[in-house]
């Protein structure tokens, strides 16, 4: 394969037209994180102690379980988007694709583990 024409060298290598979507999701999840992590901070501050009974009783309530599931979805999504931007800045070539693939799989798997844990607590499984 030759070096191609000037237009041929850049065609298909520029913007994938996903940038605005990524940018907007980063802001939407940022607002979600702002509310949900502050809920977690104030919940932790309001607890009389951190014994098993206290934290279990807190997280098994429907409100706390709902907020924690939303917190995991919002923060993990935001973390995945942010780490992807960092890796796109520092990684190049074939490694970048492999690392981004692993990053996305890892955050989905970790998030599902967190959600399953909260559901188990909320439904009284532990």
């Amino acid at each position: 394969m030759g070096n191609g024409t000037r237009i041929g060298r850049v065609r298909g290598l520029g913007s994938s037209h996903q940038g605005a979507h990524h940018w907007l999701l980063q802001r939407f999840t940022a607002v979600g994180n702002l509310l949900l992590v502050l809920w977690l901070v104030f919940s932790l501050l309001a607890m009389p102690d951190y014994s098993y009974g206290t934290v279990y009783g807190w997280l098994s309530s429907p409100f706390a379980a709902t907020a924690m599931v939303l917190l995991i979805v919002s923060t993990f999504w935001h973390a995945r988007l942010g780490m992807q931007v960092m890796m796109e800045d520092y990684l190049h070539g074939a490694n970048r694709f492999a690392v981004l693939l692993l990053l996305n799989l890892a955050f989905v798997a970790l998030g599902v583990f967190g959600v399953v844990s909260v559901i188990r607590i909320a439904l009284g499984g532990a």
Binding site: V55, S117, A126
Partner: protein, 133 residues
């Protein structure tokens, strides 16, 4: 790109060795450091927390013992600072997104304030945890 020819007198960009720290640069790299710190350590501790509660009292006791040790407390202080720092610089980003705060003086002032507020909120959080219980 090929090396430029025939126009050697044109100005070159400053490169990596020509810069000095400014508040905007500090808040920018701290935003990245705290965000990625949260994505690793914050995610790990949060998942261990909910996973241990879901697994029962014995698993939670292990989690609580590790987090209550001196190293655990240092990790938790680090995560809480990363959160409050990222929260403050993140709010700054949302303000910048609407096009406000780009004047040099104002930008430097709010960069410094967001870093200081992140530290202040971390101190207040731990003051309540450690002394108001």
């Amino acid at each position: 790109m090929a090396h430029p020819k025939g126009n050697a007198a044109r100005p070159l960009s400053p490169h990596l060795s020509i810069w000095k720290w400014s508040p905007a640069m500090a808040v920018s790299i701290l935003h990245r450091v705290s965000g990625n710190g949260l994505a690793v350590a914050g995610v790990a501790v949060l998942l261990w927390f909910v996973g241990a509660i879901a697994s029962g009292p014995a698993a939670y006791e292990t989690f609580a013992a590790v987090m209550g040790s001196p190293i655990g407390i240092i990790v938790l202080i680090g995560i809480s600072w990363a959160f409050f720092n990222h929260l403050m610089s993140g709010i700054r980003h949302l303000v910048l997104d609407v096009g406000a705060g780009y004047e040099v003086d104002r930008n430097n002032r709010w960069s410094t304030i967001s870093i200081l507020l992140g530290i202040l909120l971390t101190v207040l959080f731990w003051a309540v945890i450690l002394f108001a219980k």
